[in-house]
Protein backbone atom coordinates (compact mmCIF):
# COMPACT_ATOMS: atom_id res chain seq x y z
CA UNK A 1 0.00 0.00 0.00
CA UNK A 2 1.46 3.36 -0.98
CA UNK A 3 1.59 6.17 1.61
CA UNK A 4 0.61 9.72 0.70
CA UNK A 5 3.70 11.94 1.10
CA UNK A 6 3.28 14.49 3.88
CA UNK A 7 3.03 18.15 2.99
CA UNK A 8 6.43 19.85 3.62
CA UNK A 9 4.83 22.63 5.64
CA UNK A 10 8.00 24.27 7.08
CA UNK A 11 9.58 24.50 3.62
CA UNK A 12 6.35 25.83 2.11
CA UNK A 13 6.13 28.52 4.80
CA UNK A 14 9.76 29.49 4.19
CA UNK A 15 9.18 29.57 0.45
CA UNK A 16 6.07 31.76 0.84
CA UNK A 17 7.91 34.19 3.13
CA UNK A 18 10.79 34.37 0.63
CA UNK A 19 8.39 35.02 -2.26
CA UNK A 20 6.81 37.89 -0.34
CA UNK A 21 10.25 39.29 0.51
CA UNK A 22 11.36 39.23 -3.15
CA UNK A 23 8.11 40.92 -4.20
CA UNK A 24 8.63 43.61 -1.56
CA UNK A 25 12.19 44.29 -2.68
CA UNK A 26 11.33 44.40 -6.40
CA UNK A 27 8.33 46.67 -5.86
CA UNK A 28 10.28 48.89 -3.46
CA UNK A 29 13.02 49.56 -6.02
CA UNK A 30 10.47 50.48 -8.73
CA UNK A 31 8.42 52.66 -6.40
CA UNK A 32 11.55 54.54 -5.38
CA UNK A 33 12.20 55.39 -9.03
CA UNK A 34 8.57 56.39 -9.53
CA UNK A 35 8.66 58.52 -6.38
CA UNK A 36 11.75 60.31 -7.70
CA UNK A 37 9.92 61.14 -10.93
CA UNK A 38 6.82 62.37 -9.12
CA UNK A 39 9.00 64.49 -6.83
CA UNK A 40 10.70 65.97 -9.91
CA UNK A 41 7.27 66.84 -11.38
CA UNK A 42 6.23 68.45 -8.10
CA UNK A 43 9.41 70.56 -8.13
CA UNK A 44 8.91 71.53 -11.78
CA UNK A 45 5.28 72.45 -11.07
CA UNK A 46 6.28 74.63 -8.13
CA UNK A 47 8.93 76.42 -10.24
CA UNK A 48 6.46 76.99 -13.07
CA UNK A 49 3.87 78.38 -10.65
CA UNK A 50 6.31 81.21 -9.84
CA UNK A 51 6.95 82.00 -13.53
CA UNK A 52 6.16 85.60 -14.62
CA UNK A 53 4.35 84.36 -17.72
CA UNK A 54 0.74 83.73 -16.64
CA UNK A 55 0.25 80.87 -19.11
CA UNK A 56 3.33 79.05 -17.80
CA UNK A 57 2.23 79.69 -14.21
CA UNK A 58 -1.23 78.28 -14.99
CA UNK A 59 0.38 75.12 -16.42
CA UNK A 60 2.48 74.97 -13.27
CA UNK A 61 -0.66 74.98 -11.11
CA UNK A 62 -2.06 72.08 -13.12
CA UNK A 63 1.21 70.11 -12.92
CA UNK A 64 1.43 70.74 -9.16
CA UNK A 65 -2.13 69.53 -8.63
CA UNK A 66 -1.47 66.35 -10.63
CA UNK A 67 1.81 65.75 -8.77
CA UNK A 68 0.00 66.10 -5.45
CA UNK A 69 -2.64 63.60 -6.52
CA UNK A 70 0.12 61.19 -7.59
CA UNK A 71 1.91 61.68 -4.27
CA UNK A 72 -1.25 60.85 -2.36
CA UNK A 73 -1.91 57.71 -4.44
CA UNK A 74 1.70 56.50 -4.23
CA UNK A 75 1.58 56.35 -0.46
CA UNK A 76 -0.69 53.31 -0.75
CA UNK A 77 2.47 51.41 -1.65
CA UNK A 78 3.74 52.11 1.87
CA UNK A 79 0.52 50.69 3.34
CA UNK A 80 0.75 47.65 1.07
CA UNK A 81 4.41 47.12 2.00
CA UNK A 82 3.62 47.18 5.69
CA UNK A 83 0.80 44.69 5.26
CA UNK A 84 3.03 42.34 3.23
CA UNK A 85 5.83 42.64 5.80
CA UNK A 86 3.38 41.50 8.47
CA UNK A 87 2.34 38.53 6.31
CA UNK A 88 6.01 37.65 5.69
CA UNK A 89 6.81 37.89 9.41
CA UNK A 90 3.76 35.78 10.36
CA UNK A 91 4.89 33.08 7.92
CA UNK A 92 8.33 33.23 9.54
CA UNK A 93 6.79 32.90 13.01
CA UNK A 94 4.83 29.83 11.93
CA UNK A 95 7.93 28.30 10.33
CA UNK A 96 9.96 28.87 13.51
CA UNK A 97 7.15 27.49 15.69
CA UNK A 98 7.00 24.30 13.63
CA UNK A 99 10.76 23.83 13.90
CA UNK A 100 11.08 24.69 17.61
CA UNK A 101 11.93 21.81 19.99
CA UNK A 102 9.17 23.05 22.32
CA UNK A 103 6.45 24.59 20.20
CA UNK A 104 5.01 27.83 21.61
CA UNK A 105 1.37 27.80 22.68
CA UNK A 106 -1.06 28.90 19.94
CA UNK A 107 -2.07 31.94 21.99
CA UNK A 108 1.58 33.11 22.24
CA UNK A 109 2.07 32.66 18.51
CA UNK A 110 -1.18 34.45 17.63
CA UNK A 111 -0.43 37.31 20.04
CA UNK A 112 3.00 37.78 18.42
CA UNK A 113 1.43 37.92 14.96
CA UNK A 114 -1.33 40.33 16.00
CA UNK A 115 1.14 42.46 17.96
CA UNK A 116 3.03 43.37 14.78
CA UNK A 117 0.01 44.91 13.10
CA UNK A 118 0.04 48.65 12.62
CA UNK A 119 -3.38 49.20 11.09
CA UNK A 120 -6.78 48.88 12.66
CA UNK A 121 -8.20 47.00 9.69
CA UNK A 122 -5.46 44.37 10.04
CA UNK A 123 -6.41 43.83 13.68
CA UNK A 124 -10.09 43.75 12.81
CA UNK A 125 -9.55 41.10 10.13
CA UNK A 126 -7.47 39.03 12.55
CA UNK A 127 -10.19 39.23 15.19
CA UNK A 128 -12.92 38.32 12.73
CA UNK A 129 -11.06 35.28 11.41
CA UNK A 130 -9.33 34.06 14.56
CA UNK A 131 -11.41 35.48 17.36
CA UNK A 132 -10.46 38.12 19.86
CA UNK A 133 -7.40 37.22 21.95
CA UNK A 134 -7.80 37.43 25.71
CA UNK A 135 -6.00 40.50 27.02
CA UNK A 136 -5.64 42.13 23.62
CA UNK A 137 -7.15 45.59 23.30
CA UNK A 138 -10.22 45.42 21.07
CA UNK A 139 -9.94 46.77 17.56
CA UNK A 140 -11.99 49.94 17.59
CA UNK A 141 -15.15 48.61 16.02
CA UNK A 142 -16.77 52.01 15.56
CA UNK A 143 -13.74 53.52 13.89
CA UNK A 144 -13.80 53.44 10.14
CA UNK A 145 -10.13 53.29 9.24
CA UNK A 146 -10.84 54.36 5.67
CA UNK A 147 -12.37 57.59 6.89
CA UNK A 148 -9.35 58.26 9.12
CA UNK A 149 -6.85 58.02 6.27
CA UNK A 150 -5.33 61.42 5.69
CA UNK A 151 -6.84 62.80 8.88
CA UNK A 152 -4.94 65.38 10.93
CA UNK A 153 -5.44 65.78 14.66
CA UNK A 154 -3.59 68.46 16.57
CA UNK A 155 -3.31 67.87 20.32
Amino acid sequence: MSRTPSIPLPQLLELSASQVEVALQNAGAQVERLANSVAAFAKLGAEMCAHPDAAVAAQGVRISAEAQRAMFAMQFHDLLSQRLQHVRDALGDMHDALGAPAAPSPSVLLAAIRGRYTMEDERRMFDILLGHLPGAPPANADTDHESLRGSVELF
Binding site: A139, L148, G150, F155
Partner: protein
Protein backbone atom coordinates in the same frame (compact mmCIF):
# COMPACT_ATOMS: atom_id res chain seq x y z
CA UNK B 1 14.51 82.80 6.54
CA UNK B 2 13.89 79.26 5.26
CA UNK B 3 12.35 76.97 7.87
CA UNK B 4 13.91 73.54 8.17
CA UNK B 5 11.89 70.40 8.78
CA UNK B 6 13.29 67.04 9.87
CA UNK B 7 11.40 64.11 8.33
CA UNK B 8 11.84 60.61 9.74
CA UNK B 9 10.63 57.45 8.00
CA UNK B 10 12.18 54.07 7.21
CA UNK B 11 10.40 54.05 3.84
CA UNK B 12 12.47 55.83 1.19
CA UNK B 13 9.44 56.50 -1.01
CA UNK B 14 7.52 58.06 1.91
CA UNK B 15 10.48 60.34 2.66
CA UNK B 16 10.56 61.33 -1.02
CA UNK B 17 6.84 62.21 -0.96
CA UNK B 18 7.15 64.25 2.21
CA UNK B 19 10.29 66.01 0.96
CA UNK B 20 8.71 66.87 -2.39
CA UNK B 21 5.65 68.30 -0.63
CA UNK B 22 7.71 70.39 1.77
CA UNK B 23 10.19 71.63 -0.82
CA UNK B 24 7.35 72.67 -3.14
CA UNK B 25 6.32 75.10 -0.39
CA UNK B 26 9.87 76.38 0.13
CA UNK B 27 10.82 74.49 3.28
CA UNK B 28 14.30 73.11 3.83
CA UNK B 29 14.28 69.36 4.51
CA UNK B 30 16.59 67.09 6.45
CA UNK B 31 15.92 63.32 6.45
CA UNK B 32 16.51 60.43 8.81
CA UNK B 33 15.68 56.75 8.24
CA UNK B 34 14.72 55.96 11.86
CA UNK B 35 14.32 57.46 15.30
CA UNK B 36 17.91 56.78 16.35
CA UNK B 37 19.35 58.59 13.34
CA UNK B 38 16.94 61.49 13.89
CA UNK B 39 17.86 61.78 17.55
CA UNK B 40 21.59 61.78 16.78
CA UNK B 41 21.00 64.60 14.28
CA UNK B 42 18.78 66.53 16.69
CA UNK B 43 21.40 66.40 19.47
CA UNK B 44 23.65 68.64 17.39
CA UNK B 45 21.19 70.56 15.25
CA UNK B 46 18.02 72.58 15.68
CA UNK B 47 15.10 72.34 13.26
CA UNK B 48 11.78 74.19 13.13
CA UNK B 49 9.53 71.11 13.03
CA UNK B 50 9.75 67.32 12.97
CA UNK B 51 7.51 64.92 11.02
CA UNK B 52 8.07 61.33 12.05
CA UNK B 53 6.70 57.89 11.26
CA UNK B 54 5.78 55.73 14.28
CA UNK B 55 6.79 52.16 13.36
CA UNK B 56 10.48 52.14 12.54
CA UNK B 57 13.48 49.93 13.33
CA UNK B 58 15.97 50.82 16.13
CA UNK B 59 13.81 53.61 17.60
CA UNK B 60 10.11 54.19 16.95
CA UNK B 61 8.48 57.57 16.53
CA UNK B 62 6.85 57.72 19.95
CA UNK B 63 10.18 57.03 21.68
CA UNK B 64 11.77 59.66 19.43
CA UNK B 65 9.19 62.27 20.52
CA UNK B 66 9.85 61.39 24.15
CA UNK B 67 13.62 61.71 23.68
CA UNK B 68 13.34 64.96 21.70
CA UNK B 69 11.23 66.57 24.41
CA UNK B 70 14.08 66.00 26.85
CA UNK B 71 16.46 68.05 24.67
CA UNK B 72 16.49 71.75 25.61
CA UNK B 73 16.20 72.90 21.97
CA UNK B 74 13.15 70.74 21.27
CA UNK B 75 10.84 71.51 24.17
CA UNK B 76 8.64 73.79 22.07
CA UNK B 77 9.34 72.42 18.59
CA UNK B 78 6.20 71.07 16.86
CA UNK B 79 6.53 67.29 16.56
CA UNK B 80 4.07 65.59 14.20
CA UNK B 81 3.59 61.84 13.92
CA UNK B 82 2.70 60.58 10.43
CA UNK B 83 1.65 56.95 10.54
CA UNK B 84 -0.64 54.17 9.36
CA UNK B 85 -1.73 53.72 12.98
CA UNK B 86 -5.15 55.18 13.68
CA UNK B 87 -5.97 53.56 17.02
CA UNK B 88 -6.94 55.91 19.85
CA UNK B 89 -4.64 53.98 22.16
CA UNK B 90 -1.55 54.69 20.04
CA UNK B 91 -2.60 58.30 19.53
CA UNK B 92 -2.84 58.75 23.27
CA UNK B 93 0.64 57.25 23.65
CA UNK B 94 1.94 59.80 21.16
CA UNK B 95 0.17 62.65 22.91
CA UNK B 96 1.57 61.58 26.29
CA UNK B 97 5.08 61.41 24.85
CA UNK B 98 4.72 65.05 23.80
CA UNK B 99 3.64 64.93 20.16
CA UNK B 100 1.96 68.03 18.76
CA UNK B 101 -0.26 66.16 16.34
CA UNK B 102 -1.16 62.91 14.61
CA UNK B 103 -1.57 62.43 10.86
CA UNK B 104 -2.86 59.16 9.43
CA UNK B 105 -1.19 57.98 6.20
CA UNK B 106 -1.64 58.55 3.35
CA UNK B 107 -1.25 62.29 3.93
CA UNK B 108 -2.89 64.85 1.71
CA UNK B 109 -0.09 67.24 0.58
CA UNK B 110 -2.33 70.33 0.63
CA UNK B 111 -3.65 69.47 4.08
CA UNK B 112 -0.14 68.81 5.40
CA UNK B 113 1.07 72.22 4.20
CA UNK B 114 -2.00 73.91 5.69
CA UNK B 115 -1.26 72.20 9.02
CA UNK B 116 2.33 73.45 8.98
CA UNK B 117 1.19 76.99 8.21
CA UNK B 118 -1.22 76.79 11.13
CA UNK B 119 1.50 75.54 13.49
CA UNK B 120 4.05 78.13 12.38
CA UNK B 121 1.53 80.94 12.73
CA UNK B 122 0.24 79.80 16.12
Amino acid sequence: MTRTILTVDDSTSMRQMVRATLQSAGYGVVEAADGQEALEFARGNAVDLVISDVNMPRMDGIRLVHELRSLPGYRLTPLLLLTTESSQEKKLEGKRAGATGWIVKPFNPTQLLATLTKLFNA
